[in-house]
């Protein structure tokens, strides 16, 4: 799936050479991304040891939105988790909105294998929770839904998805009144009855076709 999308993107890039925007952004983003490599890896494949998640499966618009939140103090500020607070100053390194767009485009042009499973859960229950509460926004195959600002979840690190669900539930993320989409997600994350349910959903997501 991912490879197909990559191929499609490459083809689109060839066809639309006259439209310089995206290709230029990717090229410009490559230089900016060198700052990120230390934690997120050369291909944005992520590094659990550093709490740095895989990023290359995400849509550029979602990566940019989160970078903007980090830069604006909407995410990773007071009350956020330690790793989110680490990310905030890194995002602030990006000079302007163009830099954000560029690095987001570059990250989305990368590829890697999904990380190995680290969370055990009941995938049947996870599928049930997901169908009832998550899929309406993130899509039946967890492919994300741009019209609802919902990121792709399939292909994400299970440990990171779990950490974020727990952060939403704890109010470490999605509590800032300016964080509209984060507040939406927080309202849904707290519906899961307990932390086992979080594990179940995450285990289900990790088992999806990537």
């Amino acid at each position: 799936m991912k490879n197909c999308m990559k191929t499609a993107l490459v083809l689109a890039g060839l066809v639309t050479a006259a439209l310089p925007g995206f290709a230029q952004e990717v090229e410009a983003g490559k230089g900016l991304f060198t700052t990120c490599v230390a934690c997120h890896g050369e291909n944005a494949e992520g590094n659990k040891a550093l709490n740095a998640p895989r990023l290359n499966h995400l849509e550029p618009v979602y990566i940019a939105a989160q970078l903007d939140k980090f830069r604006g103090g909407i995410r990773g500020g007071d009350g956020a988790s330690a790793s989110a607070r680490q990310m905030a100053p890194m995002a602030a390194v990006l000079a302007d909105e163009q830099a954000v767009q560029d690095v987001a485009a570059y990250i989305a042009s990368l590829d890697s294998e999904p990380s190995a499973a680290t969370i055990e859960g009941d995938t049947v229950m996870g599928a049930d929770y997901y169908n009832q509460f998550c899929g309406a926004c993130h899509g039946a195959a967890a492919q994300g839904n741009l019209s609802l600002n919902s990121p792709r979840l399939a292909g994400g690190d299970d440990w990171y998805l779990e950490a974020q669900l727990l952060a939403f539930r704890a109010g470490q993320r999605g509590a800032d009144p300016r964080d509209t989409t984060g507040r939406q997600m927080r309202a849904m994350a707290v519906i899961l009855p307990d932390e086992q349910a979080v594990k179940d959903v995450v285990a289900f997501l990790h088992g999806l076709e990537q």
Binding site: M125, D128, Y129, N131, Q132, F133, G135, A136, C137, G139, A140, N145, S147, L148, R183, Q184, M185, A187, M188, I191, P193, A197
Partner: protein, 506 residues
């Protein structure tokens, strides 16, 4: 290897085999000839009807008329006729093709097709319109129409009481065929319905309804009694659906109970259709080959139904776990209670169970689906002539205290009941949420639309956003159908419903 141990093991195995052999031996059939008549059947519904019926009258009431008659001819608009009508009007629709949605928000309107030599007035949705007939008025009759190719509902009641929906032919109209929602006192009779991807007849959150003498086929769910009380389902021919007749609670709807349902004298035959419901929706969980499904609904009486050729199971009693363990509703009892199985005629059920039924049967060392299955193992049920049927999980059922429900002629009331809007604690927003929104949105579970909890998370303190979206929805989710526009509701009503929706807690 120690020979003594082997010998001991063999003895244990032998003893175990002997025990299993005797444990599985059926009880000898007890031949009984009743010496005294059994007690009369009594239920809340039967008492309610008996208390107000001085003479025998079975569904004898009609929509009151004033003498006003409006005739709609081919090429004219039915909706314009409704707009011109006063309460009590009879609107006669001549044969022809009508490409429109009709919304009746007035009381005592009779919308009646004129049939000439088999030619009907046809409401044609062309695969683009959502609903053929919607009514929110009380005392509405909809009859003699041929409705086809709508995407949402053929006929939907939105909190209208004292309704009559009869003699309609409904072919391929999307999600629901006939769908009275939040109606008290209604008749759904002599309709022919097919090709519906959820329920052909869907009685939702209603009371005192007779669903009688309908022909229902090629749909996912044939007849569905959901979160309703005092329902009589009688004399219907229900075949070639995924599931034939269903009575159940959907968790997360604002009315939390289902009960007092008499299902009798129906033909429930060959309901083996492939399940073509929207994946992930509640009815997508119905195993093909299910004659009847009773999920969490109480006091369901099954009497003299002919239930044959359903490949998974004749009748399945079960709890919420069939459809979901994740969607919870602390206010709704997930288990069925007090089932009452009188004589029914069963043949050739369970010959080719669906995979999920086959898996369940394997745990019971069975391969053929039974006539009756109770996955809960209720201890308050009763069954007449248990020896006649292949059953699973009915070990704790006793003998029924009554042998017939024939004293109940109807669960409808002989006099019209007051409108819902006059009920205490019923404001405009609540009425619209119950009567319209809850048709597709449950609080905590996925129906046709996303759960209310998700809408609350998305909109939070923005009811205006919901009201605006509902008037003019756009498709956002590839695995949910597009929401039909609710622009027939005025802005004030939409906003009130949105506010109610955002404040809802269960």
């Amino acid at each position: 290897m120690n020979k003594i141990a082997v010998l001991a093991g063999a003895v244990v195995l032998l003893a175990g085999g002997y025990y299993l052999g005797t444990a599985n031996r059926p009880e000898p059939t007890v031949i009984k000839v009743p010496s005294t008549p059994k007690a009369e059947f009594v239920s809340e519904g039967s008492s309610e009807v008996a208390a107000v019926s001085s003479t025998v009258s079975v569904r004898a009431w009609e929509t009151p008329t004033s003498g006003e008659l409006i005739v709609v001819k081919d090429g004219e608009s039915i909706q314009e006729a409704v707009a011109a009508a006063q309460p009590g009007a009879v609107i006669k629709v001549m044969p022809g093709t009508y490409k429109e949605t009709v919304y009746i928000d007035k009381d005592n309107i009779t919308l009646s097709g004129v049939i000439e030599e088999g030619r009907y007035p046809v409401l044609e949705g062309e695969g683009v319109r959502n609903d053929a007939v919607l009514y929110s008025g009380n005392g509405v009759t909809v009859e003699n129409l041929y409705i086809t190719r709508y995407k949402g509902n053929a006929i939907m009641g939105q909190a209208g009481n004292n309704y009559i929906i009869r003699n309609n032919i409904i072919v391929d109209t999307g999600v629901y065929g006939i769908f009275p929602q939040l109606g008290k006192n209604g008749i759904v009779a002599h309709n022919i319905i097919s090709g519906i991807e959820d329920a052909a007849i869907y009685v939702g959150m209603s009371d005192n309804v007779d669903v009688v003498y309908n022909q229902v086929f090629d749909s996912v769910a044939g007849i569905e009694i959901e979160n309703s009380r005092a329902a009589l389902v009688e004399g219907n021919y229900v075949y070639d659906n995924t599931g034939g007749i269903l009575a159940f609670i959907t968790p997360g709807l604002p009315i939390k109970t289902c009960g007092d349902v008499i299902i009798r004298n129906n033909f429930v035959v060959n309901n083996n259709h492939e399940n073509f419901a929207i994946p992930g929706s509640l009815v997508s969980n119905i195993p093909p080959g299910t004659g009847m499904l009773i999920m969490a609904c109480d006091d369901v009486v099954l009497e003299q139904n002919i239930i044959t050729g359903n490949d998974s199971v004749g009748v399945l009693f079960t709890d919420f776990s069939l459809v979901t363990n994740a969607a919870r509703d602390p206010d709704a009892d997930p288990y069925p209670n007090r089932p009452k199985i009188l004589n029914n005629i069963m043949q050739d059920n369970g010959n080719n169970p669906a995979p999920m039924v086959r898996a369940f049967l394997a745990t019971q060392l069975e391969t053929q689906g039974p006539d009756f299955v109770d996955t809960v193992g209720m201890d308050d049920g009763c069954i007449s002539h248990p020896e006649r049927f292949r059953t699973l999980g009915l070990d704790k059922y006793g003998e029924c205290e009554f042998s017939s429900t024939s004293n109940v002629l109807s669960y409808t009331l002989p006099e019209p009941v007051p409108p819902r809007k006059d009920e205490p604690n019923m404001d405009k927003g609540k009425l619209a949420y119950y009567g319209v929104c809850a048709g597709c949105h449950a609080y905590s579970s996925r129906m046709i639309g996303p759960p209310t909890q998700i809408i609350q998370a998305l909109y939070m303190d923005n009811p205006e956003g919901i009201a605006a979206y509902a008037a003019n929805p756009v498709k956002k989710r590839d695995d949910y159908p597009q929401m039909p526009p609710q622009a027939h509701l005025d802005e004030e009503t939409r906003l009130a419903a949105a506010r109610f929706m955002l404040d809802l807690k269960k």
